[in-house]
């Protein structure tokens, strides 16, 4: 969860993004790319749009950023309608795409100053701001080069700097850390949190569940053009049936019968919804080692009873840990395992 500003529901202020019953139908397509999507993003929120490839995320962002015209429904940003006031929208938003679309005919610093000039930022302000952002994003030393020799991480940082040059209210990040090395990824997460702490509303799409979990205040999971769920990461994780799990590692003399006896004892523990015996991985398997996962609505309360059950079955307890379901499990639970 982000340490950022968090959603602010200021009195009398429209949400940063409001989408209602959005539909995008492409001619000749079998199904709607976006199929009746509605959601709101509050000012100051980091909102994650998750979903498999082809779920409709990019189309939704395209509609919000005026690149795609919706077939039905309405969308507005900071109270400006995407169809009726595209200029007002473009003044308020910034987009960082998945792949670099930096202007390769310009020098790095010019990419920033020209972008600001397109948006009517006065010369003196844009010069100052460009130098400051280049410094803050670690690009100051190479500001007079062209971007041809920039690495993926540097290009990404430069696109973020460019996006900030006209001080947008809402920032769209399309899979921001895809293909980045771990250092760049951490750096970017920090910057995203800082920007958000300064009041910037952010909508990001990602496949990286860890990223979504760390950054987003709220997450909408999309599939087949529809939003399946829309909630905080913590709430989403509670969606998995059986809730949390208690993982217990036990040891018993490697003789026949112990494994079955332990399983039976665990299944008999009040509150255990389901018991799963896990195969020990060969590399660290000690003879006689047994691992179980006990699913329950509240795994914490089972720690004592489970330990007792193991001991009662004649085995020893080596390790006990509570497993929170990951967002990834929620995602697979909602969207299925099949490839897209």
């Amino acid at each position: 969860m982000s340490s950022g500003a968090g959603p602010q529901n200021g009195v009398g202020s429209a949400p940063a993004i409001a989408v209602s019953n959005l539909v995008k139908r492409y001619p000749k397509a079998k199904m709607n790319a976006v199929d009746g999507v509605s959601f709101e993003v509050s000012r100051g929120e980091i909102f994650g749009l998750l979903g498999p490839n082809g779920a409709g995320k990019t189309t939704t962002i395209g509609i919000l950023t005026t690149a795609i015209v919706a077939t039905e429904g309405r969308a507005s940003i900071m109270d400006a309608d995407v169809v009726r006031d595209p200029i007002g929208i473009k003044q308020r938003i910034a987009v960082v795409p998945q792949q670099s679309n930096l202007d390769r005919s310009l020098k790095v610093r010019e990419i920033l100053t020209f972008h600001a000039a397109y948006h009517g930022v006065p010369r003196k302000t844009r010069e100052t701001l460009a130098d400051r952002l280049l410094g803050e994003l670690g690009l100051g030393e190479r500001k007079n080069e062209k971007v041809n020799r920039y690495s993926g991480g540097m290009a990404q940082r430069l696109m973020i700097a460019r996006a900030l040059m006209h001080a947008p209210d809402v920032l769209f990040l399309d899979e921001p850390t895809n293909n980045l090395d771990p250092q760049s990824r951490l750096f970017l997460w920090e910057r995203i949190r800082e920007l958000n702490a300064n009041g910037l509303t952010i909508l990001l799409t990602t496949h990286d569940m860890d990223e979504a979990d760390r950054l987003c205040h709220r997450i909408a999971v999309m599939d087949h053009g529809k939003i399946l769920v829309n909630d905080t990461p913590a709430q989403l994780k509670k969606m998995i049936p059986g809730g949390t799990a208690l993982e217990v590692r036990a040891w018993a003399p490697p003789e026949n019968g112990f494994a079955g006896r332990v399983t039976a004892a665990l299944e008999g523990t009040p509150g255990a919804a389901k018991v799963e015996a896990l195969q020990e991985e060969a590399k660290d398997a000690e003879p006689g080692s047994l691992t179980y996962r006990v699913y329950s609505e509240s795994a914490n309360s089972l720690i004592g009873p489970v330990a007792q059950a193991v001991l009662a079955a004649g085995a020893q307890v080596r390790d006990l840990s509570v497993k929170q379901p990951s967002l990834e499990e929620v995602f697979i639970f909602l969207t299925g395992r099949h490839l897209r």
Binding site: Y26, G62, T65, T66, A67, I68, V69, D85, P86, I87, G88, K90, Q91, I93, A94, V95, P97, Q99, N101, L102, D103, R104, S105, L106, E110, F114, H115, A117, Y118, H119, G120, V121, P122, T125, T128, L129, R132, L133, E136, R162, L164, H166, A167, R191, E194, L195, A197, N198
Partner: protein
Amino acid sequence: MADTTFPLTDIHAARATNRAQLAIGAFFAILRRDLVVTGREFVPFLLQALMQPLFFLFIFGKVLPGIGLAAGNFAALMLPGIVALTGMIAAMQGVTLPLVLDLGFAREIDDRLLSPLPVWWVALEKVIFGAVRGSVASSVIFPLGYLILGNGFAVRDDRIGMLIGMVILTGCVGSTIGLLMGTIIKPEHISLMFTLIFTPLLFTGCTYYPWSALRNIRWFQGLTLLNPLTYASEGLRYSMVPPVQGHDFPTLGLTWILLALCTSVVVLFWVGRQTFYKRVRT
């Protein structure tokens, strides 16, 4: 950044609320970007635009008349054609190639499409930039022709205003053709474009022969009327070829020339705008 060091509030305060003002500002900033980039590559641009006319002028204006294969006044008739062709090709190239690459995969144009102006103004900017580029390339033919042709260089000086107008119109036709081609051609077909579009355009455009001289090949004379370059060449011939013994050189009628050039610009831009929309908004 955490201390809000950048002057966000300055920018918010300075935000124009007038959409028209915002859009006009964006338009000129984008035009300035294209001019800055071209200015930096000015020598390569000149080489690209002028290499072909240089040799055409030399061979057709100097060598052929010199060895008796062309009449002495051929240079005076051909020079306007070269001005038209050079301007049109330079304008086309300035629009088509960047558009094909941008719309095909680089998407560098996205930053401009997300600027606060109507999307079609981005196409309009390309057309105006292309016309400027074409006009500059056309203009450079004059000193070049003077140097190469020597005594053969003959341009009447009583239709300068019309000449300037024709040069600009030619640039506009070239850049609107460029817009249309740039929005329909796929990157993998770029080389095909040169063969399928440039070659017929080049040879049916009355660049190397005056239209009136085709009266014995009626069907071909009719065919050339489908090519906008014909009107540009003839318009420049009208503005440049000196009268012989008080008689103007016979060209297509000025009204028809202006009508055809203006119609071409309007129709090509209108269609190009639609194809541009199709590529950038879905």
